[in-house]
C-alpha cells in the first residue's frame, strides 16, 4: 500500500494531466453529440413538417376530386327523371315495376360512371320505399335499418347539403371491422323543394384510406375527424370510430390560428400535429407525426454513441501516450533528485527527455558540480587549518623542553658526567630532528617509540629515575603510522602531574590494535585527576582544564576527530589515588 502510494506520488502530474484531458474529451464529445442530435432532430422535424404540409395539400386535392365526382353524380341523379319516377311512383304491377326497376338501374349504372374511378356503391331510397343499390353486397345491409338510421336523419335535417358520415350500423355480414364512409344527400325537386328520396354514396373506409394511405408510414399517421371529434378514417385502424376531442381541439386551434403545425403530446406520444379543414366534408384532416418513431429511423443513436465512444477511446489512447511521454522524463527527474540524501552530493542525474527537461537536468548537474567543488575547497581549507593548529601545538612544547633539557645538560657537564651529557645531547638531537622536520608527516610506531624513549631518557636525566616507563607494543603494530609526537604530551603530563606527592611511580605505554583502530594508552599509577566524572566522561571538567601542561586534551581529541573521523580521539579514565589512563584511538595507516 505504501509502495503503491509512493509510486502514485511520482505519477501525480501525469494523473492530473490525464484526468483533465480525459474529462474534457468526454464532455466535449458528449455535448457535441447531444447538440448535433438535437439540431438534426429539429432540422428534420422542420423539413418533415414542410413536406407533410405539402402532402396534406395533395391529400386534400385527392379528397376534393373525389367530392367533385360525388357531387357531379349526385346532381345527375337529382336531375334524372327516370330515377325520380322510380322513387316517387306508388306501388304498381309486376310488369311496370320491372320496367321501372330496370330503367332506374340502367340510369344508376350510367351515372355511376362519374364515380367509376372510386370503389363506391350508390344507393337510392325513395319516399315510395323503393330502393336500389348498385352493389348491395357491400352496403347497406338492410333498407329498413338504413331508412331509420341516424345517417338518414342527419341527411334530412340538412337537405341541401351533401354530408359525409362514418357508418358502422349498416354494414352487411360480420365485417364490422371495416366501416363505411357514406356521403348522403336528400333528393328534392328544385322548384318546390319537395323531398322524394335520399341518395347515398358508400365507400369502404379501407378504400377511403387509399386517398392518403400511400403518404403514411409508421409514426406518420393520418386521422380524419368529423366535426364532433369522431375518427372517421385513419391508417391506424384502432382509432376508427373513437372520439378524440383532444385532437379535435388541436385541429381547430391550428385552423383558427393559421398555424403550420403544433408540437403536442397527443394519443400518448410526443407528436407534431398538422391539420387541414376540409370544408366540403366538414372533416378535419389531421396528420400526426410521432417524433420518436420518425426520428428513430433518422438518427441512429446507437451508431452515433458507438462512433463517439470509438473516437473518445482513440483520443484517450493518444493523449495517454503523449502525456505519458511528457511526464515520464519529469517523473524520472523527480525520482533521481529525491535520491539525494544529506551530505551526498554526487547524485548526478541522467539527462534525457524533451529539451526543457534536458536543460533542467543539465542545470541541476551543473549545480551539483559547483556544490561539490565548493565543499572540496571547504574541506581542504579546514584540513590545512587543523594541520597548522596541530603543528603549532606540537611546536609549543619545544622551548620549555629545550630550556629544561639544556639546563640539565649544563648540570651534567658541571658534574663532569660527560658520557651522560653526551647521551642526553644525542637524545635531544634525535628528538629535535624529528620535531623540526616536516611536522605534518606521520611516522611509524617504532620511530615514535624511539622518540618517546629519548624523551623519557632526557627526563630521567633531569629528574632521576624514580619514575619508570615501560613500553608494551603489540608485534603487529610497529609498522602503523601515527602523527608525530602525538603520545609525547601525555607522557609529559604523567611525569609532571601524576607524581607530585611522591617521587616514585610507573608509567605504561601500551600500543595495540583493536579491530580497525590503533589504540595507544598511557597509564600511570599516580594521584589521579580531580573533577573526573565517572558517570559522564565526556563532560568531565578535565577536558577543558589546563591540567595537562600547555595543551588541552579536548583540543587534541577534536583535532584527531577532525582529521580521522568521529570514531577516533582521546578518552581518559581517572580515579583519585589510583592513577589515570589516557587512551588514544587512531586509524590504522600503513604510511
Amino acid at each position: 500500500m505504501r509502495a503503491f502510494l509512493d509510486k502514485f506520488k511520482f505519477h501525480g502530474l501525469f494523473i492530473k494531466m490525464f484526468m483533465v484531458t480525459f474529462i474534457s474529451i468526454i464532455s466535449v464529445s458528449l455535448l457535441t453529440s447531444i447538440f448535433m442530435i438535437q439540431m438534426s432532430e429539429r432540422l428534420f422535424m422542420n423539413t418533415f413538417s414542410i413536406t407533410n404540409s405539402k402532402i396534406i395539400n395533395q391529400i386534400q386535392a385527392n379528397f376534393e376530386s373525389f367530392n367533385y365526382s360525388v357531387v357531379t353524380a349526385s346532381n345527375n341523379v337529382m336531375q334524372n327523371g327516370a330515377i325520380k319516377g322510380f322513387l316517387t311512383k306508388p306501388e304498381m304491377d309486376t310488369v311496370s315495376s320491372l320496367a321501372s326497376y330496370y330503367q332506374a338501374s340502367q340510369q344508376m349504372e350510367r351515372i355511376q360512371s362519374n364515380v367509376a374511378a372510386y370503389p363506391v356503391t350508390m344507393t337510392i331510397s325513395g319516399v315510395n320505399k323503393k330502393f336500389h343499390s348498385t352493389d348491395s353486397y357491400y352496403w347497406p345491409s338492410s333498407l329498413e335499418k338504413l331508412r331509420n338510421s341516424i345517417l338518414t336523419v342527419n341527411t334530412l335535417i340538412q337537405p341541401k347539403k351533401l354530408i359525409y358520415q362514418l357508418d358502422t350500423e349498416n354494414i352487411p355480414g360480420s365485417s364490422h371491422d371495416d366501416p363505411v364512409i357514406v356521403a348522403s344527400r336528400a333528393l328534392m325537386e328544385r322548384t318546390s323543394g319537395n323531398q322524394y328520396g335520399v341518395l347515398y354514396f358508400a365507400i369502404k373506409e379501407s378504400d377511403f384510406k387509399g386517398f392518403y394511405s400511400s403518404f403514411t408510414s409508421k409514426g406518420n399517421d393520418v386521422v380524419i375527424l368529423d366535426s364532433k371529434g369522431v375518427v372517421v378514417s385513419s391508417n391506424r385502424h384502432d382509432l376508427i370510430g373513437q372520439e378524440e376531442q383532444e385532437l379535435l381541439s388541436y385541429a381547430k386551434e391550428i385552423e383558427e390560428q393559421k398555424l403550420n403545425f403544433k408540437d403536442v403530446n397527443v394519443l400518448g406520444s410526443s407528436s407534431l400535429v398538422l391539420s387541414e379543414y376540409l370544408p366540403v366534408y366538414d372533416f378535419y384532416l389531421v396528420n400526426l407525426i410521432n417524433k420518436q418513431e420518425v426520428l428513430k429511423g433518422i438518427v441512429d443513436f446507437k451508431m452515433i454513441a458507438l462512433i463517439s465512444i470509438a473516437i473518445v477511446f482513440v483520443a484517450l489512447i493518444i493523449v495517454f501516450l503523449i502525456s505519458r511521454r511528457l511526464t515520464k522524463s519529469l517523473t524520472m527527474l523527480a525520482r533521481q533528485m529525491s535520491g539525494i540524501t544529506t551530505n551526498h552530493f554526487d547524485n548526478y542525474i541522467e539527462v534525457s527527455g524533451s529539451y526543457e527537461i534536458k536543460e533542467l537536468g543539465r542545470a541541476y548537474n551543473y549545480m551539483l558540480d559547483e556544490l561539490n567543488d565548493y565543499i572540496k575547497k571547504l574541506i581542504q581549507t579546514q584540513k590545512d587549518q587543523r594541520n597548522a593548529e596541530l603543528s603549532a601545538l606540537q611546536m609549543q612544547i619545544n622551548p620549555h623542553f629545550l630550556y629544561n633539557t639544556l639546563a640539565s645538560i649544563k648540570i651534567l657537564v658541571q658534574q663532569g658526567n660527560k658520557e651522560k651529557a653526551a647521551a642526553t645531547i644525542n637524545s635531544l638531537i634525535s628528538l629535535l630532528q624529528n620535531t623540526v622536520s616536516n611536522i605534518s608527516e606521520t611516522i611509524s610506531v617504532a620511530q615514535e617509540l624511539v622518540n618517546l624513549k629519548n624523551y623519557v631518557f632526557i627526563n630521567h636525566v633531569r629528574y632521576g629515575e624514580q619514575i619508570v616507563v615501560n613500553y608494551f607494543v603489540a608485534d603487529d603494530c610497529y609498522g602503523y603510522h601515527i602523527p608525530k609526537l602525538i603520545i609525547q604530551p601525555f607522557i609529559e603530563n604523567a611525569f609532571f602531574h601524576a607524581f607530585q606527592e611522591r617521587n616514585d611511580g610507573h608509567i605504561y605505554v601500551l600500543i595495540s590494535r583493536e579491530e580497525q583502530a590503533l589504540v595507544c594508552e598511557v597509564v600511570d599509577n599516580g594521584v589521579g585527576m580531580e573533577g573526573y566524572d565517572h558517570e559522564n566522561p565526556a563532560h568531565s571538567s578535565i577536558s577543558t582544564s589546563h591540567f595537562f601542561s600547555g595543551i588541552g586534551i579536548r583540543n587534541v581529541h577534536d583535532r584527531i576527530a577532525l582529521l580521522y573521523g568521529e570514531e577516533f580521539g582521546v578518552s581518559i579514565v581517572s580515579d583519585i589515588g589510583q592513577g589515570t589512563r589516557v587512551k588514544i584511538r587512531l586509524p590504522l595507516h600503513k604510511t
Partner: protein, 431 residues
C-alpha cells in the same frame, strides 16, 4: 461550416431514408411460393369459400405439416381483373398457386390461356365428381379444375303460406313452371304474398330454366351463340313473361333486397342455388316454415328435368412454382377427403360435388329448419341429375345482351325477333 453541416445532415437523412426503404420491401403474400413449402390461394367470400379453404388447409396439416397455405381474400371482380391482367401480360409472377374461378367464367380462362393452368389428370379422377361440373372445369380433354361447391338449384318454399292458400308441399314436387305460376296466383290471392323476387338485371332464373333442359346461351362448342331458335330459351323467356304478367313477382334490384324479401316473409318461394341456405336460415324465426322442392321443369321441353344449377365454382392450379404441391394438396382435400366435405356441410353449409361425399353422415342429417326435411341429401341427389352443359366463354357477355332484349320482350316485342336480334348482337360481340 453551417453549409457543410447541412449537407452532411441532408445526406445522412437521405441515406437513412434510402436504407429504410430497402428494408421495407413489399411483402404482400401474393408472390408465388418458393419451392414446395408454401402455396398461395386466392378466393372470395370469407364465410363460404375462404372458410372452406381454411378447413381444407387444417385437414391437410395432418398429412403434410410442412406445407404452408396462404389464403388471400379478394373480391371476385378483383381476382378476374388480376388474372386477366397477369395472363394478358404473359407472366405468372404475381399470380397465386391456387385460384377459385366461377364455373360460368372458367372456360374463358382455360381456352384463352391453357398453358397458364396445370392439368390435374394425374391427381384427380373426373368421374368422382358430379358430371355437370366436368364440362366447365375441363378443356381439350384435360381436367384443370377440382370441382368445388355445387350450385344445385332447388325451389325453397314457405310451407305455411302454401297451406294458407290450400296447398301442400307435396303439391309442388316435380311440377312445371306453368303449374307453379298457377299456384303463385292462388297464393297471391289468398295471402297477398308474391311468389318470388326478380331483379331485371339478373337472368339467373332463365339460366336455371335452360340448363334444366340441357341447353345454354352457347352451343356445345362453347363459342357459338345459341339464342335464335333455342327452344328451351324461348320457353324460358315466355315463362318469365308469364310470371311477370301474372303479377306474382316482387321486383328487386340488388342482393340485399333479394335477401331482405324472403327474410321478411314477403315472398312464398325462392328458386335459386343451394348456397342460399345460410341466408334463409339466418332468419331463425322462420324455422320450420320452409321446405325445398325440386326445381320446376319447363313443361314444353321434353329434355327438361327437375334439376338445375346456379353459380358454383372450382379450384384451379396455376402453372407456377409449387404447382405439384398445390395439386397434391387439392387431391388430398377437395379431391378425396370425404370427412372434409362432412365438415363443410355442417359448418359452412357448402355442398360439394364429390359423389362419395354424399354417403357421409352429415349428408343424412335431417334439418329442423326445413321441417325435418333432409335437404342436403336431396340436393346431393339433384346434383347428380343436373344436365351437363358447356358454359363456354361468353356467358356474361350474352346475358348483358339478353337483359336488354328481355326488356324489349316485356315491352311487347315478338319473341322470335327478340331472340334473333340477340343472336345477331351476340355474334358480332363475341367474334
Amino acid at each position: 461550416m453551417k453549409k457543410l453541416l447541412a449537407v452532411a445532415l441532408a445526406s445522412f437523412v437521405l441515406l437513412t431514408a434510402c436504407s429504410s426503404k430497402e428494408n421495407n420491401a413489399p411483402n404482400n403474400g401474393e408472390a408465388p411460393a418458393a419451392g414446395t413449402k408454401e402455396i398461395t390461394v386466392w378466393a372470395w367470400d370469407k364465410a363460404f369459400n375462404i372458410g372452406a379453404m381454411e378447413r381444407a388447409s387444417e385437414a391437410y396439416k395432418a398429412k403434410n405439416a410442412d406445407l404452408k397455405v396462404n389464403i388471400v381474400e379478394n373480391a371476385q371482380a378483383d381476382i378476374i381483373q388480376k388474372l386477366n391482367a397477369g395472363l394478358n401480360a404473359g407472366t405468372t409472377k404475381s399470380l397465386p398457386t391456387i385460384v377459385l374461378i366461377e364455373d360460368y367464367r372458367a372456360q374463358s380462362f382455360l381456352q384463352a390461356y391453357p398453358d397458364a393452368f396445370f392439368a390435374l389428370n394425374d391427381f384427380i379422377t373426373p368421374s368422382d365428381f358430379a358430371d355437370y361440373k366436368i364440362g366447365p372445369t375441363s378443356f381439350d380433354g384435360k381436367q384443370y379444375g377440382v370441382p368445388f361447391d355445387s350450385g344445385v338449384a332447388g325451389l325453397y318454399v314457405r310451407s305455411d303460406y302454401l297451406e294458407e292458400a290450400g296447398f301442400k308441399v307435396d303439391d309442388l314436387q316435380d311440377i312445371d313452371w306453368k303449374k307453379l305460376i298457377e299456384i303463385g296466383k292462388e297464393v297471391k290471392a289468398k295471402t297477398g304474398k308474391s311468389l318470388l323476387t326478380q331483379d331485371p338485371n339478373d337472368l339467373g332464373l332463365i339460366r336455371m330454366m335452360i340448363q334444366s333442359a340441357g341447353s345454354w346461351y352457347l352451343k356445345e362448342d362453347g363459342t357459338t351463340p345459341n339464342l335464335a331458335g333455342n327452344a328451351a330459351l324461348k320457353e324460358a323467356f315466355e315463362t318469365y313473361k308469364e310470371l311477370m304478367n301474372a303479377d306474382i313477382v316482387k321486383v328487386t334490384s340488388d342482393w340485399s333486397q333479394f335477401v331482405g324479401a324472403f327474410n321478411s316473409g314477403e315472398v312464398a318461394s325462392v328458386p335459386t342455388g343451394n348456397w342460399i341456405t345460410a341466408s334463409v336460415k339466418a332468419e331463425a324465426s322462420q324455422s320450420g316454415k320452409w321446405a325445398v322442392v325440386p326445381f320446376p321443369k319447363l313443361g314444353g321441353n321434353p329434355n327438361s328435368v327437375h334439376a338445375s344449377n346456379l353459380g358454383g365454382s372450382s379450384w384451379y392450379v396455376m402453372n407456377v412454382d409449387g404447382k405439384e404441391a398445390a395439386a397434391e394438396f387439392l387431391k388430398a382435400t377437395f379431391g378425396s377427403d370425404v370427412d372434409l366435405y362432412q365438415k363443410l356441410v355442417t359448418e359452412i353449409g357448402a355442398i360439394g360435388t364429390l359423389k362419395a361425399a354424399a354417403a357421409g353422415d352429415a349428408y343424412k342429417q335431417a334439418d329442423e329448419f326445413f321441417g325435418g326435411q333432409n335437404v342436403i341429401q336431396d340436393f346431393a341427389k339433384w346434383t347428380e341429375q343436373i344436365p351437363s352443359v358447356n358454359y363456354g366463354m361468353h356467358t356474361y357477355a350474352i346475358e348483358d345482351i339478353l337483359v336488354v332484349e328481355m326488356q324489349n320482350y316485356m315491352g311487347g316485342k315478338d319473341i322470335d325477333k327478340v331472340l334473333s336480334d340477340a343472336q345477331s348482337q351476340a355474334e358480332t360481340q363475341v367474334k
